[in-house]
Symmetry: D2
Subunit: 336 residues, 4 copies
């Protein structure tokens, strides 16, 4: 942390900052320039993370230097992490495809989807039983019966299952079915939920909030890792911008930045970024070209009758070709 004093700061102001830093056991390095004094705080960042330097008299601004996360930082595990989801590996030199419907809607829709997903070559099945929806009048998912259908899909196809948990009280029942717990974009900063999934042992798929920075995403993963669970997979799914031709703006740079800053795998969700089926493939290709370790994509037996996100779902019969094309790019960039 660098604390930059105002040009007109009094000596007592400088002393106060130094005392605050030293008071919690860090060292204060003082650099007196021609115009202003700069104080560096050296030591354990956690001890001063809450210190309101900018509210102290004479302080112009406080500038964090060291990374605010630890367990998820690349330095923590230089070789990179490969997460095992029900026997399927996600991480460097693997290329994992997660596919399935947005929502589990019915027995037929679920099983038909799962079989097609497997046949097309995807390794993991996704499907929502609990759906966070903007409108209280929208379909909210089947809930626990949806979980049972997911379990049935796994029995039939052998595909491990990724599904979202939106309430800490559901972690146990969801874990009975899921091989990986998804934390959705809207819950990326639901810190209680993060802490609780950090205290259980199923892998966690952590989606970036549509208005959260990469650093905030890393901090949210830190909540999970700090709880003891380091099996975390990041998912970039687009951010909210002024541009409205797509549902969100896929931030491909974030994929690359996450791979540099963290040892954890990163996948891309082109479906929610695009919001429209015709852009799902190019966004998937772009995400993988930028370094994604996998792709999560929404498919549906009949998108035009889907109960949620039909506009962005691929048809089941489009999935194999989609996977083949994405895989070609993965090969071209050396990801597999």
């Amino acid at each position: 942390m660098l604390v930059v004093m105002r040009q007109d700061a009094a000596k007592s102001d400088v002393d106060h900052v130094i005392a605050s830093i030293e008071g919690v056991g860090l060292q204060a390095h003082v650099s007196e320039g021609k115009f202003r004094t700069i104080i560096g705080a050296v030591g354990d960042r956690e001890l001063i993370v809450d210190m309101p330097f900018e509210a102290m008299p004479g302080v112009e601004k406080a500038i964090p230097i060291s990374k605010p996360f630890k367990f998820v930082a690349s330095e923590f595990k230089p070789g990179g992490t490969v997460v095992d989801i029900g026997g399927v590996l996600v991480g460097r030199s693997h290329m994992t495809f997660i596919a399935g419907p947005c929502s589990i809607e019915s027995d037929t829709q679920a099983i038909e989807s799962a079989i097609a997903v497997k046949a097309a070559g995807a390794q993991l099945l996704r499907g929502g039983a609990f759906k966070p929806r903007t409108s209280p009048y929208s379909f909210q998912g089947l809930g626990r019966p949806g979980l049972e259908l997911l379990a049935e899909c796994r029995r039939v196809t052998g595909l491990p299952v990724v599904t979202e948990v939106i309430d800490a009280r559901d972690i146990d029942p969801v874990s009975e079915v899921a091989d990986c717990l998804q934390i959705g974009a809207r819950n990326m900063q639901n810190f209680l939920l993060l802490s609780e999934v950090g205290r259980q042992d199923k892998p966690v798929l952590l989606k970036r909030g549509f208005s959260n920075t990469v650093e905030e995403l890393l901090m949210s993963a830190e909540y999970v890792a700090k709880g003891g669970n380091a099996d975390i997979v990041f998912c970039e799914r687009g951010i909210r911008t002024f541009e409205k031709t797509t549902r969100a703006t896929l931030d491909v740079a974030a994929i690359s930045v996450l791979r540099k800053q963290s040892h954890l795998p990163v996948i891309v969700d082109p479906s929610h970024a695009a919001g429209r089926a015709d852009l799902v493939l190019p966004l998937a290709l772009a995400g993988v070209a930028a370094g994604a370790d996998g792709v999560m994509v929404e498919v549906h037996p009949d998108p035009s009758s889907a109960l949620s996100d039909g506009e962005q779902a691929l048809r089941l019969d489009e999935l194999k070709d989609f996977i083949d094309q994405v895989r070609a790019v993965a090969v071209a960039v050396g990801s597999i």
Copy 2:
């Protein structure tokens, strides 16, 4: 809902859309133009809210026309709602000041703040016991002991208390102390939490998410109101933009839009928008000038030692003057 067909849509495509609309009991009004056909769906919007028109063959786009909310719409209660929080009224022709520290930190800090808040003329006390924080290494609030301190503050000053609930499991214990449950910005789309506060009877202060649209805020209120609880107060607290001189960009227009679109009161939180103490007053003045029914502001006995958000807290001795200046603008615009 207007469904605009492509220029090259087949007759069967048009028929399919019509059948989908009529299939759920709405009427389809077909308008055949020179270049394309437009189909209007007339009837209960809820019945087609999930229909994926844009995934249907031949459809160019679907354009919602009617408002997607009902209970919170201005038409639902033309005279406007005045919410009673422990005897203090919030709404048109009232001007309510809610003040207190960001976090409840200690006995002394809490009581000293509460007494000063009352002396300065604020009518409601705020203070956080459960704090959602970006970093797991930051102070997370005192939790239940913090609630007890809030109860003590109320006993001492008589001020009704507004405090945040971040977990559905805490609704009961928080309600024992709070006169109003605050839903924070990060939980604005925590739909489970919204539904559950909608099923209890304490008033709800609903903060806008920093990246949510006004319409999404109205939909979140609809979750609460649909549960049976119509005592909702909106709070505009700034949105995330590219501009970084402030923590968030206060969207004053949203205050005015909310008052036009809904019967519910709207207050402004200048502290979180500014993120720095020197801008709290001008933002409060702007919010009230734009039509806010009240102001929620953070104060602290010693901002430079606060455990959270010290940079944006006013000192206790600044509060009275702050309230006086805001009130002058409220008078000038006819709010009181």
Copy 3:
């Protein structure tokens, strides 16, 4: 400028940074911490503004400390600047109203508007002869005949005229008519145009670009001031965000920040921020409450037949009441 070295930077990397700083005549203050070295560059910032520290080996990041602008900084003229536009003063303790149609469309429309603007109590007339329009098929303004109509309006009413210049080649003809040259939002970073209006002597009204930061706005004003013309008035008119209920999001904090960072006056344009007539008043009130020294507002004899921006224009007969209400807030906040 602070140059933060990586933890693994070599001594030669540090020496290279020092040599670069000293090579242009600044002093390098080196602070060796436990983990990393930080180098402060002290002296004339202009000499290192282009130095690509972050491209130098071993450098983690370069952090600018001093303000990048000089002539427009508050320190340059502590008392604040009052700009004289054809005898009308704009600045602290004045409250100036600039009103008129978006575009000058015809003799009748222009004169009728100008007379009404004067009668309502506004001190300056606005009106566009050259209009930058998103579509090449939109009305582009009357051009030079529009300037003649503006001259006629001034003759009839005596009101000084503010009008936009969009091409350096038009500065002379526009200056013959205008008392103040407006630089529109889309030209805020048209640096040639800025430099050239900086070399003539008519006051300049500089609108913030809809996606430019406050600092970029200050830098653009610096271009004008560096040319020799310090008669600059800032205009906040809203920034582009994800929220679409208004045409732009009025950034009221920017008004306050500009007044703190610069000695130049700041006005607010509620019309372009709102994009709809019913929000023009609340946004004007908010802007003035936040500290604006004036308001620029669009009016039209018949908004429903306007050739540009009719949606956001007030009717001529609404202007007097608008001014009265805004003035009441200006009095309440002590601006007049």
Copy 4:
């Protein structure tokens, strides 16, 4: 255009809208629903582009249906356009690399760069003689002597030259040297400049403004094409968002959308999006995977001494490998 009336609109309001539409020669199709009336305007969109429907009494909103551009629309030239820049083709099934320094700084730097660019396999040379810079204290380019150096580079290497024009008065001198005129991001809505480059015959490289929508970019191209010059190449270079780990957020979806909506080629500029050298490659790969027809990239003999944008420049000796890797992705996605 669809004009949606309010529920409480009077018959006279409806009649007024109809009369306005028919008054300019279009047909009005009236659809009377149960709750409201919707009026479709059928005919030449240009005739009503400026009509302020939303300012008319009884109108709730006006919704444009047809595309607001014509000459650049994909329907205008279904086979797609291949632009010839000094003999180098840009467009479908070509993959063009444009490389060179941000600014032309000196004889040595320019020639050395040009030779290396050619040797690495790029087909076009870029380099700025006129530089729009945020600060008036930054290097503004060499101006006309810079143009002469570009001419020399072309003589030496035979590479056609792409360079920016920032002032209509410079079009002639720049055209003497350039094989393609670049319109920079800040001038994307400098409509005069667009019109004037539309009236000369050199191809135009049109960069997306960092806060402009895809539709606005298409409209800006329409200005050029309407002037008679249809040799336009789009360039996506990132948009401004809240995320600050990169200089801009590369909008890869825009590349795909532009290719769908227009017949014109699209290239990607990863350098300005990244703002840092280590992300240039992944962003280029992502852009090409999303469908870009080429890449424009900044290189420099010594980035750490560059006078502009050194942080994002690749070294000359990195270019060949960069091109090889990008080309591999182009092959994988079938672009070449």
